[in-house]
Point group: C2
Chain length 306, copies 2
């Protein structure tokens, strides 16, 4: 019987590019550079089922800084090279969710990566990640289960169960020859071993399917796609940009806000927030609307227990 | 005639993994985590020939943090998306020198990357970087010149000239099918337009060739490979590690120290310092020896003019 609570840490809460983004001088990036609003690293979450083991959900390019900012992920003094980080679970193959895999290459054991077959094929073929990491730690691929399955480390059940919920969505832009028409994006559902409190992690949601809707209604904690406030938001800084829906994100306004407002979940938190999103500005009408609905705007370093 | 001095900034002074390295609890990484010695990001340099244009030498995985730490590399308020960063010059295809290229993908114009044909082929074939970045900014490849050549931005001479000095060295570990037996590593030499003050940048030196030796003797400033103090240093934290020479680095002790000591250069600075290197500890005998020889241990954020 598990004694310890399941710990969850938001490592990074920004969408691709982070806040500020290196080449962006929009009002939000400017405010972050001037210290008016907190900076954000790119999307990632760490979960511990206890016993000082951690798994990562997505591996952002900011992973090195995210690990250093969180002592629970540091190596122990017992030996020179070690880490409490066990497996990595991926929700998609977007560069802001996978470039951090290259940063874990110095480990001694194979890197265990759980994802869909389509995501694995994208990483293998378009990034050649198997061949690149074979020169270092190597990868062991595990397919995400479709039904609740215990997470096992070294043959021992961890007290955490998980499953993937398939979502519609295209392969990332860099995957010019995607082999599968589907399987490019998932949400992840976690439960403690008692089948009680549930956590839903959904950083990239193009559309709320019936299966996702059910999981949102059953969850104690929902971490949800807060990329864009509105569909044409990115066009204001980059006229050539695609719309939110073309990029696979349901906007908050006229989209997820109403649905999250109606959930009974104890915690509803926006994650994967793009640097153009007006909810990042204190006092903005959008932020006021989100807060009035009882929804939390996730911040880097936020921690809670399941 | 150029009016402004050539500015140089050490963006990052650590070898691959940085200081601390995510999975390392050695004395140096531990001291960096406890705030006893300054942390270091991975190897990279920025050079400005003036007019608020900058080029990068190598693109480390820490590039996003390195840009934010240096206001001269921030975008200007004039338009939402822009950057003073122009071209990138690579000294080799090591992951700690090239993963940052992926982080520049949001730019509107093609990313101009100067490197050898062997480095370009490694990045193209083993990392598929052309195909990946084609979905974003795309890459324009330029071959590094072997003789002093003016650096040109938008058809205008910048007042900076440069050339590559070939060095012995193997392709990186991830390049399982390297096509060329040579061309995997270079040092870069820069000069102002008057052909006067010279800067030599050599972060990965397996062996001091006669051509490199001449450039070291002619330079006003030498930025040199300080990866390892001794040949077997990495084995103390990782028994499976290769020696310094197997990894393409001349150690400081019994290697570069004597040669740097004898140079007439105004500045001799160690860069690309591995987290295991004892010179990182104040009061260590190695550090004392380096300092007594008048050689500077480079630090992140160090700036000077040519």
């Amino acid at each position: 019987v598990r004694e310890q609570p399941i710990r969850i840490r938001l490592l990074g809460t920004a969408a691709g590019g982070g806040l500020p983004q290196w080449n962006c001088a929009c009002a939000n990036c400017d405010a972050a550079r001037r210290g008016k609003i907190p900076p954000r690293t790119q999307s990632g979450i760490a979960i511990s089922p206890g016993a000082e083991h951690w798994i990562l959900i997505n591996a952002s390019p900011d992973l090195r800084a995210q690990i250093e900012a969180f002592p629970a992920l540091h190596p122990r003094a017992a030996s020179a090279r070690n880490s409490p980080i066990r497996d990595v679970l991926l929700t998609n193959a977007d560069l802001d969710h996978v470039l951090g895999l290259f940063l874990l290459r110095e480990r001694a054991e194979k890197l265990r990566v759980h994802c869909t077959a389509a995501v694995r094929d994208t990483l293998r073929c378009a990034l050649q990640i198997d061949a690149v990491l074979a020169g270092y730690c190597g990868i062991e691929w595990l397919e995400l289960p479709g039904t609740m399955t215990p997470l096992i480390f070294n043959g021992m059940e961890t007290g955490l169960a998980f499953r993937a919920i398939p979502l519609p969505g295209a392969a990332p832009r860099y995957a010019t020859a995607a082999f599968s028409p589907s399987g490019h994006s998932v949400a992840l559902e976690f439960a403690d071993a008692q089948g009680g409190a549930r956590l839903l992690v959904a950083p990239d949601v193009a559309e709320i399917t019936p299966e996702l809707r059910s999981a949102m209604e059953a969850a104690e904690t929902v971490l949800f796609d807060g990329t864009f406030w509105s569909g044409d938001e990115l066009r204001r800084v980059d006229p050539a940009a695609r719309t939110a829906s073309e990029m696979g994100h349901l906007p908050i306004s006229g989209g997820s806000l109403e649905i999250l407002r109606g959930l009974r979940a104890r915690r509803r938190i926006y994650i994967h927030i793009n640097n153009t999103n007006p909810i990042l500005q204190p006092g903005s009408p959008g932020r006021a609307e989100v807060e009035k609905a009882g929804i939390v705007i996730g911040e880097d370093g936020m921690e809670f227990e399941l």
